[in-house]
Symmetry: C2
Amino acid sequence: MRSVTIGILGLGQVGAGTLRLLQERRVEIKARLGAALDVRRIAVRDLGRAREVLLDPALLTDDPHAIVSDPAIDVVIELIGGIEPARSLILAALRNCKHVVTANKAVLAECGAEIFAEAAARNRVVYFEGSVAGGIPILRSLREGLASDRIEAIVGIVNGTSNYILDAMTRSGAGFSEALQAAQAAGYAEADPRLDVGGGDAAHKLALLALVAFGARVDPHAIPTEGITGVSALDIRAAAELGYVIKSLALAHDAPHGPCLRVHPTLVPRGHVLASVAGAYNAVLVESRALGRSLYYGRGAGMMPTAVAVVSDLLEVARDLLAGVAPAAPPAVRDVAPTSTDALEHEHYLCVHVPNLPGVLGRVATCLGRHGVSIARMIQERAGAGPVPMIILTEAVAERAMQAALAELATSPELAAPPTHIRLLPAALC
Amino acid sequence: MRSVTIGILGLGQVGAGTLRLLQERRVEIKARLGAALDVRRIAVRDLGRAREVLLDPALLTDDPHAIVSDPAIDVVIELIGGIEPARSLILAALRNCKHVVTANKAVLAECGAEIFAEAAARNRVVYFEGSVAGGIPILRSLREGLASDRIEAIVGIVNGTSNYILDAMTRSGAGFSEALQAAQAAGYAEADPRLDVGGGDAAHKLALLALVAFGARVDPHAIPTEGITGVSALDIRAAAELGYVIKSLALAHDAPHGPCLRVHPTLVPRGHVLASVAGAYNAVLVESRALGRSLYYGRGAGMMPTAVAVVSDLLEVARDLLAGVAPAAPPAVRDVAPTSTDALEHEHYLCVHVPNLPGVLGRVATCLGRHGVSIARMIQERAGAGPVPMIILTEAVAERAMQAALAELATSPELAAPPTHIRLLPAALC
């Protein structure tokens, strides 16, 4: 019986899930592949720790370098996460002519240039389906299903924590902090949630989506990124009254000099297919020239969903290895700066807390008008003792103009706080 | 420059789309594949007809047998549709050791045993992504993305015509006939719509989904199939009042002796991700053990969407051909009878037209009760001159019991017409 030999770096949730899937589906995998997938070694930090999966303790080592340099291993699965030591170990594995499967979006988004260059030099592949939207086969769909199509735009709910929190706020009326705490208690948010709720995780995934969809490698730090920490219970309620649901979206569209990318909370019309993506689910909507709109939806994280993606990559590598075929060279990639969002037109939602005094609202509207921002609709919340929240929907206006208007409003001594500001999903994507 | 040589049978909408995609994306395909896809001949019925795509008339022939027997052709793309001559031509192509790509669900659902046996005997592949849900890469996702997972259930909106009509009825309040006529005028329904609105087309696609997901080949005529012709404007309105949208679904779940399959209109809760699938779109929801719920959504038909699927299959065949690799043998398939739906439990929606007389409703309820059908909720529409429509939601009850109750009610002299009866989406899929 032929076999493909595997080393695994990291035996946390996803590592244990991968191992479990390889064990539980051993017979089916063998039948499908005509060969066994043989896990030879697993690197862990703590040899003594109890594991969520049955395994021969002799497989374990606390020296990951022993795996990436082991000549008996064909494929290294990196599931440590984070930048280092993942980066060094992936590079070492490639230098030792191993194929690599990883679910680590951070290391690929931050150090992709180096890693993919090394892979190309060694004629090895790095597959990373598990790094974007968990088990949803979105990268494979872009790469193969839509191979002959031209991708024009991508809109993703790719951070399950943010979606879980916004969804909980929508259902319960809770504020952000309360919903975050509940998400942490339920295991849907990390103790340090900043990478999730700040949008950084979504920016990493967006950079990888742009890599596969547009062949464009961008610095994830160059992606304009807004988290959901500024979204209030009032915003959720006001959006609902206007017929919208607030979602944290990662958006990309192709442009001549480099894709235009951004991550921000967004008002999505209630009947839109993205509006029904609840809880910790992920979804990626793709607009392509021939196919039109398509959408891929599923669990964006978790032990078994991500393991499904990891094993799907592993099967693809194994098929090529067994066939004795050089793996498909990835399409050419350009390193580009993303196109500025300055000229992007959006309708905007604003929530302005104005003191209940004559003339103030006029001055807000005048300020907006001075920057070319037209008001499409306005709702005044019931007046109380303090400042009154005014909800404004604007006509579509360029990002640059809206930012200038917001900057001026932020300095106004009449406003109790800078306006809250959330973009609407562009009409072309509705 | 190496190339893969192609013959196309049929140059209707999808054929023209395929050709256009191969022309427009020639450079990208060459770059990705390292070889050209070279269309050598195209069989058409009428050599003189004007075409929607630019082509060298010398490529055309009105003899499809010249293509399937041409030794210079590697891959035959069958886009004629229907059973014959598609079946004979596919078999002849396989006998002549050509790989086959097709978007023809009817021929594969009806004659799959014969076709796949011939393919296996010749060590050739038959790919058919375009035959189910148009351009959505659902078969590839099941086969590769979820390769290591165990599929438990599938729920699909796979007939765009039916979805378009039900969606139009929901939006406009129109009746079935009116909505069908509008769909025909808009090009979303055929002049003879029976295969679409009767559910037969969905049953074909469901049989192919079951083949890929469960490795089970079933006779599509053995699938219990109900179309949407009995759904009335009143049903749509009453369902909406109760918080549901009516969708035509193809449902499958795995069972020990063969999958349980059925096609029928279904009440789907309004917030469900399938409820937001509008117009002629398709969507396939998959429940699998490790990944959980995932969904694939997009245009289910049309010139360019289906062409994207055809070319994705073509690229996969071409990659193997160029690598000199035998294509992956399809996983083992069993020929099975589908598991009976008799014991399946559903909640049901009933609409009973009862004369406005004392005691009738009691007798309806008694009849239901006699068969073990409990009433969960009831709405009486406003009473008029004639019979009064009563809307009943039942508790979950086995199909067999409900059918017995319906059969008895249908013979009741007191009812103006047999009750309308629509199943609710099972709670496990909500």
